[in-house]
Amino acid sequence: MFDLEKAIADWRQQMLTAGIKTPVPLEELENHLREEIERQVKSGLTEQPALEISVRRIGQPEMLHREFKKSERTFMKRTLIILAGVFGVLVGMALLMPAAHLYKEQGMVHNAVVGFGWGIPIVLLGASTTFYGFNKRKA
């Protein structure tokens, strides 16, 4: 006797083995599978062929995992670019602030010049990296 719940549990196991994560996106894929099985059964199939067709339509676990991985990787890369940019702005500010303080107290002394000289380009570089990262996210 065919047990639909057991067959779905087996399918879940195959997806997990291939590296598809739970709850997201596995729950979403399982909901899709159940909905497709339901539709096939309504159109006259028995549960077993309905499951087999639906599993085939969803696609191979390895192929799906590869695609999900691709989208995760691009997301990670962009997030890292943004974080590096923010870090650059913070480092630049850490140089600029004491330089500005020094300038106010003692005028344009050597250390203030060095602080401004490094701080300004680092802040600008950090800001443009952050900006690039945000725009890349939408591209």
């Binding site: 996106p25 729950e27 979403e28 894929l29 909901n31 899709h32 159940r34 909905e35 497709e36 339509r57 969803i58 696609g59 192929m63 799906l64 695609e67 999900f68 691709k70 989208s71 691009t74 997301f75 962009r78 996210r137 939408k138 591209a139």
Partner: protein
């Protein structure tokens, strides 16, 4: 059947345009694309989800978990502002390709 490359390239503009009619979920998106193309535009069902997730990561769409009429959990997607802008760009580009193609095709019959 429409070629694989074209199916892949048209996924994003189709999803954006469908969602501009209101929020929807994966299964319904696939069914609607199938129905509107007379079954000629078919994705491997599961492949829609990585595309949806990528679009969500890029800030074009957003998602929320909800429930179907029968109580089943569903992830609904809807369009964000950047998604609307991206959709307008897609429409512009696809219209251009279409008009060039249609123009060339017309010349062949003259």
């Amino acid at each position: 059947m429409i070629r694989k490359e074209l199916v892949a390239a048209s996924a994003e503009p189709l999803i954006l345009s469908l969602l501009s009619n209101g929020e929807s979920y994966g299964y319904a998106i696939i069914q609607e694309v199938k129905a509107r193309s007379g079954g000629k535009l078919q994705w491997t069902d599961g492949m829609l989800y990585p595309v949806l997730h990528r679009m969500e990561n890029r800030g074009l769409i957003k998602s929320r978990w909800g429930e179907s009429e029968t109580g089943r959990k569903r992830k609904y997607y809807s369009l964000k502002r950047d998604g609307k802008t991206a959709m307008a760009k897609h429409h512009e580009q696809w219209s251009l390709v279409h008009s060039v193609l249609a123009g060339l095709q017309k010349e062949q019959f003259v």
